[in-house]
Amino acid sequence: MKKHSDTRTDWQVQRDRIIGLGETSLRKSYYPELREKIAELEKKNRELHEAYERLASNEEELRQNYDELSRREQEIRSAKHYLEAIYEGSPDMIFVHSSDGHIIDVNDNVLLAYGVSREEIHAAAPSDMSGKGYTNEMALGKFQAALKTGKTEFEWFGKRKNGEEFPLEIRLRRIDHVRDDGTIEPRVLAIVRDISEAKMAERALDQARKKLKLLNTVIFQDIQSTVFALSAYIQLSGSSRDGTKVTAYLDKEAFLISKIVSSLNFTKNYQDLGMQPPKWQNVGQVFLYAISHLDSLKIERRMEVEGLEIYADLLLEKVFFNLVENSFIHGQGVTEISLTYRESMDGMTIVLTDNGVGIESEQKSRIFEQGGGKSSGLGLFLAREILSITGITIRETGEAGKGVRFELLIPKGAYRFAEPPQKTR
């Protein structure tokens, strides 16, 4: 009985379950899963949207970066223009060297100054372009110093393709070249200035000072000896009762005083010597100025020195004046002068001739000496001294009776030709 009733209870439970009103008796449902999926999708969608926003803001940032970059590029480009202008427009020579001394680039000034092509310069070692005694090792030492300290400055001697040497002032600067891959390659920038003229001016000034000293000494001795003679005559004339003698003494004294005055006047001629450095001067122009002070209208002149410039003291005009004046005074009927030039191995020779009586052979060696001239004796002496300041020598090579012939030899480097005036089309 008991078992039977248990079974009944069990069946009751079974029946209720089959009818299916219990909590667990549910049909399968997709809706909760669907909602989960939808929620998941919405979340994904939100995430995507956020990602999109981030992307958009990144894009904005990128765009700004790009703008900034292109602005920088613009700046770099304009800076590059400046640099290029400086590079090509600078009066100096500019070299770019690798750290081991090889030439990477040069501006056109270098090619002009050294007289070489761009290909030749790239193949050149430092010693090829330097004066005698300047070695590759010395050059490398300078580069090392620049690389180490950032800069170094020194003087040097360059050598042109034709072998001519010229003094240089060199400033080395280390520059950091940024390669395409962003790495840095140290290089050396050389700013090279041709100091030939400065050197010449320096030498000339030195010369001028020496000349001045010499002239002062000469004049001082001259005046001193004259004053000595003068004081002797004054003593004699003081102690003499003889009127005739006294008159003769007084004539001597007057002569000596005029000599002192003449010496003092002469100092005016050269007191400006060396006051200013020498200059490049147009020979023809200076010559015309010089003869304008003379009564030269009756004289025919031939000038073939167009464009010729020489490096000389500013008293060059005085030199020409003195030379031509010499012809006027001593030439006896000079009607013609000529000024020409010829170039030779030694340099440039300017030739000044007249058609006067010339200078006799025995006098030729003395005319440039102090007191060697026919009058005061100082005109040609002064001319020689002025010219020698810039290394110019002068001599007289004319034939007596056929006129004088002054030859001025200008050393290499102290003459040049001015650019011919540009013809307009």
């Binding site: 039977h4 069990d10 069946w11 079974q14 009818i19 009103l21 399968k28 997709y30």
Partner: protein, 387 residues
């Protein structure tokens, strides 16, 4: 009107489409469920008859891939379910289409349960034992009788214990049934008879079930009328689509009725027989029905009288006993007219089997809703009568 009629009751039915060529809607529904690769569960004979080709063509038309699993015998076995679930997983399926009678449909339900819950199918025996819902399932019945296409039942053969287990859960009510009379035209007379008698058994048992409700009664009554009116005609004129359609409708109604009202001792005992010796389910029911009716009759005679009315019997002038004999006799007559004349003994069941058969039947969940609660001796006696 009794108080019981106001009890809370539930009626669960899947969406279904009934009518000729309903099977061609498979692709459309599979697509609607988001399926991309469907496991088609069916049997070799159904493939042979060409019905599966119609279904797969419909899937192809909607660009849905499919894998066919047809390793199924009648009275589907646990091993077959597990094999099908392995195919499902391996092929990466996401929905199931069952084409066939009760065996493929129950097996398909089992495959769905296993694929979602990853446990042996036998673990789900009983009512409401399924935790995770199975994948979407489309059923295309090819017999008029099983009712599995609309029911919450799946009956699987436990080959080890030699019993049929019942899995009952609202979760295995299919998502859509495409009820098409066309495939019935290829049924053999014998299968028509067996499955038809199964349907009648479903209706009768649902109607007299102690879990019946007004809604299930409507379907059960209608089903008995339809089967009584058209089963024999369809048996005699197999290619008549009209008769086939009526039996299909009868089977559908029976399915809806028993799915919600459950069954009774006939099915409990038939399940026991099926597990024991693999006998055809419909035939077992046919042979047991009249004996169980006789046993149950007195616990609810007015229900059985209504069954009689549904069978078109005029019982007005008869005594209660005459009515009982008339009604049971009417069932017997139909069975015999359908050519089911063997006894259980003819099918190989012996007296010695009966205690075990009875014991197993008593444990079947269907027994819970039988109108009269039997003890083992009652069941044994009924088996003996049917022997």
């Amino acid at each position: 009107m009794t108080k019981e009629q106001f009890e809370l009751r539930k009626f669960v039915a899947p969406e279904f489409v009934i009518g000729s060529d309903a099977r061609f809607l498979t692709g459309r529904y599979a697509k609607n469920f988001g399926a991309q690769n469907v496991l088609v569960v069916t049997g070799p004979h159904i493939i042979e008859a060409g019905w599966v080709r119609d279904v797969t063509a419909s899937l192809e038309e909607d660009d849905i891939a499919f894998t066919v699993f047809s390793g199924i015998t009648s009275n589907p076995r646990d091993s077959e379910v597990m094999a099908g679930a392995a195919v499902y997983d391996e092929a990466g399926c996401d929905a199931i289409v069952a084409v066939g009678g009760g065996s493929p449909i129950d097996c398909a339900k089992g495959i769905g349960i296993v694929s979602s819950n990853k446990k042996n199918i036998l673990d789900f025996e009983g009512v409401d034992q399924i935790r995770v819902p199975p994948p979407p399932m489309i059923c295309i019945p090819t017999t008029a009788g099983t009712g599995a296409d609309v029911s919450q039942f799946a009956i699987i053969n436990d080959t080890q214990r030699k019993v049929k287990i019942a899995i009952i859960s609202k979760m295995i009510v299919p998502d859509i049934a495409l009820v098409d009379p066309e495939p019935l035209t290829s049924l053999s007379p014998e299968l028509t008879a067996h499955t038809g008698m199964d349907a009648i058994t479903h209706s009768v048992e649902a109607f007299v079930s102690n879990a019946s409700s007004p809604v299930t009664d409507v379907h059960a009554f209608e089903s008995i009328q339809l089967m009584n009116g058209f089963l024999l005609k369809a048996y005699q004129d197999p290619e008549n689509l009209e008769y086939r359609f009526q039996t299909m409708l009868g089977s559908l109604s029976a399915g809806l009725a028993f799915s919600n009202a459950s069954l009774g001792a006939v099915h409990a005992m038939a399940h026991s027989l099926g597990g024991f010796s693999d006998l055809p389910h419909g035939e077992c029911n046919s042979l047991l029905l009249e004996h169980v009716m006789a046993f149950n009759y007195d616990s609810c005679p007015e229900r059985y009288e209504t069954v009689g009315k549904a069978m078109g019997l005029n019982l007005a002038s008869l005594s209660p006993l005459e009515r009982k004999e008339r009604i049971i006799g009417s069932v017997r007559n139909l069975r015999e007219a359908l050519g089911i004349t063997d006894t259980l003994g003819d099918l190989g069941v012996t007296n010695g089997d009966i205690p075990q058969l009875a014991k197993n039947a008593l444990h079947d969940p269907c027994m819970a809703t039988n109108p009269r609660q039997p003890v083992a001796a009652d069941i044994e006696r009924i088996y003996e009568e049917a022997l």
